[in-house]
Symmetry: C2
Subunit: 230 residues, 2 copies
DNA sequence: ATTGGGCGATTGTTCAACAATCCGACGATT
DNA sequence: AATCGTCGGATTGTTGAACAATCGCCCAAT
């Protein structure tokens, strides 16, 4: 038992690359840390990220921070202003429509494709998660439950690329939420929508589910545009 | 007239960032160069890219090459194997379905949205471009004309994010084409499809255009899967 | 009030070095 | 002879320091 993975590894191959004992590079860890701070609102949109400050804070080299910035910039979480620095991305009113256009394309397409029973079950689980959070009056959990719901919908398509696109869009939206804090009632609004969409799925009517989802996204965009002083 | 942009710049603002006299950073230029070589098949899928070799070839630092790699990796044109190097991405048979899933989502959604007359005109232009290329027996031009067609369709949605997603997917597909060279007849097949789709658009029937496009994408995926040893 | 010129700070890029890791070859063991 | 450990070379990952280029800003001069 001195080399357990070597013994098992012979049979594997491509899987090895995916399973990799997971020792993310330092740059990846820096990016992850920044992503976290971005997600929980510690870094607000428009804020500047100084290379040297972050390098010192996290105890890494400036070059490494720079690589992490490249990752985040590719995810649009951060924008680079040449010779001026990187800033936390901030969505303009035009970006709202843009983001929702992507969501309509990705989510509706995925839900219309149907999806296996297990995938539908995952959607149901997200709906219940949301109800539980509502019952517990946990706004935070309510928000993440909603994201789980929409990610579960996209996951129905079974496409890695679609999943990452969705993940990026949701990350962008999270950024936006922190800028304009929405009231508590806002979150509860979509609970019935999710339930109805899920029921349509369970009833084996993905087209209807798609229509409902589309209508929901349109309404959601309107509300967002209104909140964000259009 | 010593500082023309400064005089004009006062009235501008956000536009300045976009118009920026266009001095891409060295890392960006390296990435662009590699993207070019990738596109024209100078670097085949699976090929290894050594940092030091490229750094020396292009006369830049290893760190800069590294940053360029980060860009390309974010675009999935290249994959990083930790401690082993970066390799030109190579699509597996599973990736084919994945890529087409994204295309179905993006393209069909965009075309169903309708789009202004100018945007439809752009689609028409791409169709004619394809016909001209076919008449001239120019395979290369035929391929790019087809890409223009599909990009014009996505452009109908008027979403920057959707445009870049489509650009990335097309770049991935181009990579794939180089791996398995397809015969000349393959390219001509879709000319009538494009024409029909375009006519539906011009007739003001985006839903029909969407159905046609969807059918085309399904057929295209099948063909690709067949060519690429399913 | 506007123009113009430094000035400090930060980024862009390079270079050199070192540890960590991987690959392949060579040699030892059964 | 085949397998296993080990060693060495090569490449990546990361660091630290250095320097030029650029930007924003303050301030002086007109």
């Amino acid at each position: 038992m001195t080399t357990p993975d070597a013994a098992a590894g012979s049979a594997l191959g491509a899987a090895a690359a995916r399973l990799r004992v997971a020792v993310p590079s330092v740059a990846d860890r820096v990016a992850a840390e920044l992503r976290l701070q971005l997600a929980e609102g510690a870094l607000l949109p428009g804020a500047r990220l100084t290379e040297s400050a972050i390098a010192e804070d996290l105890g890494v080299s400036r070059n490494t921070v720079r690589e992490a910035f490249a990752e985040l910039a590719a995810e649009r979480l951060v924008v680079r202003h040449p010779n001026r620095g990187v800033f936390v991305a901030s969505l303009e009113s035009g970006d709202i429509h843009d983001v929702y256009t992507v969501r309509r394309a990705v989510e509706v397409s995925a839900i219309r494709a149907g999806g296996s029973p297990e995938r539908v079950a995952a959607v149901r689980a997200a709906v219940e998660e949301g109800k539980a959070a509502a019952a517990a009056d946990d706004e935070e959990a309510l928000g993440t439950a909603n994201q789980h719901f929409h990610r579960a919908i996209v996951a129905m398509a079974g496409s890695r690329r679609l999943d990452t696109i969705m993940a990026q869009v949701l990350a962008e939206m999270r950024l936006f939420f922190h800028k304009a804090t929405v009231d508590a009632h806002f979150y509860r609004g979509w609970l019935p929508d999710n339930e109805e969409i899920c029921q349509a799925l369970e009833a084996g009517d993905p087209d209807r589910a798609g229509d409902l989802l589309l209508a929901y996204l349109d309404r959601s965009e309107e509300r967002q545009a209104a909140v964000h002083g259009d």
